[in-house]
Amino acid sequence: MSQLTELYQEVILDHYRNPRNAKPIEKETHSAEGHNPLCGDDVEVHLLIEDGVVADVSVRGVGCAISTASSSLMSEAIRGKSLDEVEQMFERFHAMVTSPIDAPAPIDGLGKLEVLAGVRNYPVRIKCATLPWHALKSAIAGSSEPVTTEAGE
């Protein structure tokens, strides 16, 4: 599999074309926006957090294949998870997409999210993959400032 086809593999294209959990949710407790000035990607994360668990989630946005697929995959991955688990997932995901390319990517415990490991080979695209995660984190933290990937990552 070439790096390019690894990056744009079918699962990703599928989530890009048919993003999951993009419909507004009825009740929400937390939300946040994210921008990636590089691509012009915008993402909105809306959460219903009940008893420390992500009971419902909606992620919407305009973006490139990577950020859209990442948003969609994230929404599936976090649903029903506790905030601790989400935090751990964030760390693991981050570690995977920023891991050095000369060793196998650390994909443990990431499940389906591992399809985004190919982003490692495209440093300039890593922000696309992490944008929804940053917005998620900011939503959970209850911050009202839109997050951005501008200032490094």
Binding site: E10, L13, C39, V62, A65, Y122
Partner: protein, 407 residues
């Protein structure tokens, strides 16, 4: 270097050899972002540092005298190239952005009050939007935006109407960096002049392709960047009419821009010193002038460039699923497009894998993107050293992107 030759004999393959970065397997089609440098310009910078380096002005020793002569000589060279009346009309700045900020702060801001107006167009680069927003916001002035049509041309009647409202300045690009639109600046300046409205032309995207005659177009200010015109980074020029410059407030304060300093009182020097506080980018100015010399000597490349652009437009247009963004009456340097179902950023990544460097995104023209209701475009932008083989590579890359996304 070669002497002036006519358009037919413009030999792009020969010219390419002057640019060390070309021919290394990258089809560089991101010239609107920054251009590559001929070896001659690089050598000139090297020579300055190896043989002529000293601080300018006020030195009695040979290195300082030499550096001053070369630096001021560069100013004269640029003045002559754009047909300014005098080298005192050329202020060295970091680039177009700083030039526009300078005019905004030193010329326009002191004139703004509640209800004043500033006029730009809907296709401006952020550098020609945000400085005006900032000073309008501070003073209660209004920023008027002349609309463009679906082809990406300014609606001249609307522009004229806004000119008649008497803005403190009308500031607009000669060529759009996002669409390639060539604005009819002479006509637009004429509208401004007949209403007594001062003009600032953002020349960042025309200077790399065509020579400007500031007295012919009769603008009040003209701004451009060296790095977009085959010269070094960190330097650019602001042309301004001398009488306007000398009536303006300084921009930055410090050494060299003053005549006399005491703790009670300071007198400012006339232009250009007034606007060049501190040690300038001496090597940059010299390299910038060298780039102009180079470009003036390689012959007339307009036909070559036009053919290349026409070919790119034509061939992109033929690809099913490609939509061109902007079909202006006259185009220079830039082709913006979208590929159905593929985000520009993904097109950019796939083209890069194919060895083609284009830009994807909003091109620092977000309001223009909103106008077309798109998040961004793919932008291929050309310089005289590009060739048809690079258009081939572009086309092949776009087809490849289509293929990757049609799984």
């Amino acid at each position: 270097m070669t002497s002036v030759r006519d358009a037919v004999s413009f030999d792009v393959e020969r010219i390419r050899r002057d640019f060390p970065i070309l021919g290394k397997g990258i089809a560089y089609l991101d010239n609107a972002a920054t251009t590559q440098k001929p070896q001659r310009v690089i050598d000139r910078i090297t020579r300055f540092y190896r043989e002529q380096n000293g601080n300018v002005h006020r030195g009695v020793h040979d290195l300082s005298v030499m550096a001053t002569r070369e630096y001021e000589g560069a100013r004269q060279r640029i003045a002559k190239d754009i047909n300014a009346k005098s080298e005192r009309e050329i202020v060295f700045v970091r680039g177009t952005t700083e030039a526009i900020n300078l005019v905004a702060q030193s010329f326009v801001r002191p004139k703004l009050k509640q209800g004043s107006r500033v006029l730009i167009t809907a296709m401006e680069h952020h550098s020609n939007i945000v400085p005006w927003q900032a000073i309008c916001g501070e003073t209660g002035a209004k920023l008027d935006v002349a609309p463009i049509d679906d082809n990406g041309d300014v609606v001249l009647e609307a522009f004229d109407r806004l000119v008649r409202k008497g803005p403190v300045i009308a500031s607009f690009a000669s060529v759009s960096n996002a669409l390639g639109t060539v604005n009819p600046i002479k006509e637009m300046i004429e509208m401004c002049k007949s209403n007594g409205v001062p003009t600032l032309i953002d020349g960042a995207q025309s200077v790399p392709h065509t020579r400007v005659d500031v007295r012919d177009i009769d603008c009040d200010f003209f701004a451009f960047s060296s790095h977009k015109a085959f010269g070094p980074t960190g330097i650019g020029a602001l042309y301004g009419r001398e009488e306007l410059l000398n009536a303006m407030q300084p921009y930055q304060y410090g050494g060299d821009m003053i005549l006399y300093v005491s703790f009670e009182h300071t007198e400012y020097a006339p232009s250009p010193a007034r606007f060049e506080a501190g040690t300038p980018h001496i090597a940059g100015a010299i390299g910038m002038a060298e780039a102009i010399d180079y470009v003036r000597e390689i012959g007339d490349f307009r036909l070559h460039e036009n053919r290349l652009i026409d070919s790119a437009v034509q061939r992109l247009h033929e690809i099913d699923g490609v939509r061109l963004v902007g079909m202006p009456k006259r185009r220079m340097g830039v082709v913006s497009f979208l590929l159905d179902g593929v985000h520009p950023h993904d097109v950019g990544t796939i083209l890069n894998e194919s060895g083609v460097a284009i830009r994807a995104g909003h091109h620092c023209a977000q309001p223009l993107m909103h106008r077309f209701d798109i998040p961004g475009t793919c932008r291929a932008s050309f310089a005289f050293y590009n060739n048809e083989a690079e258009v081939d590579a572009l086309i092949a890359g776009v087809r490849k992107a289509k293929e990757v996304f049609s799984q």
